[in-house]
């Protein structure tokens, strides 16, 4: 266990200036649920911790058809936010499955993204909602789609001294349903063996206009099963071949083996979860009335 120095800047500019110091090993501290165990085990030995808690990164706001979640927003905050609940239920459900109430009161969305772990629960739903990540470094800012945020190895594109500012979620089109399923070795307090998220958006004639299928914990990084997605586009909702798609999603993407499960089991599980999530989304869509 190391006891690094600590600072809690009050402005973004101050934070970025401190983070720009290349002479010391600096870690950004958000909720600490990932970082503090690593400090304790000696896995990381930073000189300085930069706490984001006093920065204006803990807000959820709706701006121009886009929900903007600060990187410092906690899982609990997301679960209690009316707009998140209304427009992004798959993300809310993903948050609900993380840890315990006490973990959710501290862990943050930005922290979940920056941890770069394959089983990060918020990533699959953020992917299917076409999230964008806004980052800042020094005096510059950039925004990138979440689907480009992780390299193949699982590492993020965050550069030294760069901070995640916000996560932007475009409000989904009206005839949209999304669903998230986490499967672990237990129901609660468990690492995901496979996470699956899906989104289906329909056109006026109930044909699938847009589809998203995302898998987490399955491979080295969470990803979208794009071949399977494109197969869904243009299908009538009630004729969509969910099982065949699930199989395609799994066959075209290799799974990993680790302490919790082998690749073969992950493939079987992912097939079931994708099909199930698609059916749930389908059930939700069938409840929506269309004005022809």
């Amino acid at each position: 266990m190391s006891y690094p120095d600590y600072t809690a800047p009050t402005t973004l500019r101050e934070a970025l200036e401190i983070l720009g110091d290349t002479a010391r090993i600096i870690q950004v501290l958000a909720g600490g649920t990932n970082l503090i165990p690593r400090l304790r085990s000696g896995e990381i030995e930073p000189h300085l911790l930069v706490d984001i808690r006093l920065l204006p990164l803990n807000l959820i706001r709706l701006e121009k058809d886009c929900l903007r979640l600060g990187a410092g927003v906690t899982y609990s905050q997301i679960m209690e936010d009316d707009m998140a609940v209304r427009y992004f239920p798959a993300l809310v459900n993903a948050c609900r499955e993380i840890g315990s109430p006490s973990i959710r009161n501290r862990g943050t969305l930005g922290g979940n993204l920056a941890a770069c772990i394959p089983e990060a629960g918020t990533v699959p739903p953020l992917l299917v909602y076409d999230a964008q990540i806004s980052m800042a470094k020094g005096k510059t800012e950039r925004t990138t789609p979440l689907s480009d945020f992780y390299r193949t190895s699982g590492e993020s594109i965050l550069e030294p001294g760069e901070l995640i500012k916000e996560i932007l979620l475009p409000l989904p089109a009206p005839a949209t349903a999304a669903h998230f399923i986490k499967s672990g070795n237990r129901r609660g307090m468990t690492t995901a063996v496979v996470n699956a998220a899906v989104r289906i958006s329909l056109d006026q004639k109930r044909y699938i206009r847009e589809a998203r299928i995302a898998l987490g914990a399955y491979a080295q990084k969470p990803f979208r099963a794009e071949a399977a997605e494109s197969m869904l586009v243009g299908c009538r909702l009630d004729e969509a071949p969910f099982d065949r798609l699930a199989r395609l999603a799994v066959e075209s993407n290799p799974a990993r083996t680790d302490l919790f499960a082998g690749a073969e089991y992950r493939k079987k599980l992912a097939r079931v979860l994708i099909a199930r999530a698609l059916r749930e989304a389908c059930t939700d869509l069938n409840k929506i009335e269309f004005h022809d």
Binding site: D5, A8, T33, I36, S100, P101, S102, I103, N105, R106
Partner: protein, 162 residues
Amino acid sequence: MTEKTVHLWVNDRELSIAAEPSRTLLEVLREDLKCISVKEGCGRGDCGSCVVIMDGKPVNACLVLIAQAEDAHVLTLEGLSGGTALHPLQRLFVDKWAFQCGFCTPGMILSSYALLMKNLEPTEEDIKEAIVGNLCRCTDYHRVIEAVQEAARELRQLNEPG
């Protein structure tokens, strides 16, 4: 390393503590303030033995750095009964044998307390979700659930007018 003065409330007592900022709230509560009810079972947020209430919400004290508790109101089990009378949860945990070795109990009671602060009509599922982060190796939790249900009933009756 440089110490920082952290200002916070613990069990309604206003304090200014000099501490290395990256020591955990768990360490400071136990070692400096002698709040021994806050237990260390794993040090990494997996067991819930160190759950305390911070600004009205349950958190794992082992995952909060003391500097992050600046201006916070922290409640530990020692502070739950205020004066001499026990909170219904405390009394019912005894009466319903909701623990054996008792090590998980402080965290378990506080997680339950946090639930009852928001919801006085919890279902069994609600209670299970509230204590999902509190591991118990001695019991099968069902007496904890009974104790919480009974406490909820008592608190509801207290709230009823007349």
